[in-house]
C-alpha cells in the first residue's frame, strides 16, 4: 500500500522543480522580451519625433524613459509585483537596475533622507557602478596600449 505512494512522491520530487524551472524561464523570457520591445517602441518613437538626434542620443532618451517609468511603478509598489511574477525578466533589463535603486530608497526613507534614503540607494547599484566604471577604465587603458587592434 505504501510502496506506490513513496514512488509517487519521489516522482513528484523529481518532476516538480523541473516544471517550476520551465515556468520561471518562460515567464522571464516573455516579460524580458516585452520590456525590450517597449524600449524598442520608445526608440522608434524618438527617432521619428526627433530626427536630428543621433542613435546614441535616442538610446539615452529611451533609457531615461524606461528608468522614469520604473521609478514611478516602484513608487506605487507595482514593479515589485511584476518582479514576483517575472523573476530575471524584471531584473536583467535596465528597469531592474532602476528598481534596485528606487526600491531601497523608498524602503529606508524612515531612517532619514541622508543616511536612510540616499545611503541605501546604492546597496545594489553601488557594486554595479563600481565594477562598471572600473572595468571601463581598464578597457580604456587597454585601448591606449594596443591602439592598433582597435583601429586607432
Amino acid at each position: 500500500m505504501n510502496e506506490p505512494n513513496e514512488a509517487y512522491l519521489k516522482l513528484i520530487k523529481e518532476k516538480m522543480p523541473k516544471s517550476k524551472h520551465l515556468l520561471t524561464m518562460f515567464r522571464a523570457f516573455w516579460t524580458g522580451g516585452t520590456i525590450c520591445c517597449i524600449g524598442q517602441a520608445f526608440t522608434d518613437l524618438y527617432t521619428f519625433l526627433f530626427s536630428e538626434l543621433g542613435e546614441k542620443d535616442v538610446a539615452a532618451l529611451t533609457t531615461i524613459t524606461l528608468i522614469f517609468i520604473t521609478a514611478v511603478l516602484t513608487g506605487f509598489g507595482i514593479y515589485d509585483k511584476i518582479g514576483a511574477y517575472a523573476g530575471a525578466g524584471s531584473i536583467v533589463p535596465i528597469t531592474g537596475f532602476a528598481n534596485s535603486v528606487v526600491s531601497p530608497a523608498v524602503e529606508h526613507k524612515r531612517e532619514g533622507v541622508v543616511f536612510g534614503l540616499c545611503a541605501n540607494m546604492f546597496s545594489v547599484a553601488g557594486p554595479v557602478i563600481v565594477f562598471g566604471i572600473s572595468s571601463s577604465v581598464v578597457v580604456g587603458l587597454i585601448v591606449i596600449l594596443f591602439k592598433g587592434a582597435f583601429g586607432g
Binding site: 522614469f68 536583467v92 533589463p93 523608498v106 526613507k109 586607432g152
Partner: protein, 121 residues
C-alpha cells in the same frame, strides 16, 4: 512586416538574455546584484572583443535594454574616448557614455524616495 520582424528579433534577443539570467538564478541561487554585475562585465568583455555589435545590430533594443547593453555602452565609451582623446578619454569615456542613465536613476530614485510612502512592516 519589416517592423514586425524587428520587434520579433528584439523580443527574442531580450527574452533570451533574461531567460539565461533566470537559469542562472534557478541553478545557482545567486543574488540579483551578482546577476547584474555579471551581465554588466560580460557586456564590457563582449564589446571590447568586438562581438557585441553583431548582437546589437540583430537584437536592437533587445540587446541595449538589458544590463549587458549597459556594460557594452561603458566599454564602447571607453574605447571611443581612448581613441579620440587618449588617456583622459580612456578614463572618462565609460562614465560619459552612461551618464544619462546614472543621472536619471539617481534623480528619479531621489524624487520617488521623497514622495512615496514605504510599505508598513
Amino acid at each position: 512586416m519589416e517592423t514586425f520582424l524587428t520587434y520579433l528579433q528584439v523580443f527574442a534577443v531580450g527574452g533570451t538574455i533574461c531567460l539565461i539570467g533566470q537559469v542562472i538564478i534557478n541553478t545557482t541561487k545567486v543574488t540579483s546584484a551578482r546577476i547584474l554585475v555579471g551581465y554588466l562585465l560580460l557586456g564590457v568583455v563582449l564589446e571590447t572583443a568586438g562581438v557585441y555589435k553583431y548582437i546589437r545590430d540583430f537584437g536592437k533594443a533587445g540587446a541595449t535594454v538589458p544590463i549587458i547593453g549597459f556594460g557594452s555602452n561603458l566599454a564602447r565609451g571607453a574605447i571611443d574616448g581612448a581613441l579620440e582623446s587618449g588617456i583622459l578619454g580612456a578614463v572618462t569615456g565609460g562614465i560619459e557614455a552612461v551618464a544619462a542613465g546614472i543621472a536619471a536613476v539617481i534623480f528619479f530614485a531621489f524624487i520617488v524616495g521623497l514622495v512615496a510612502t514605504p510599505k508598513t512592516k
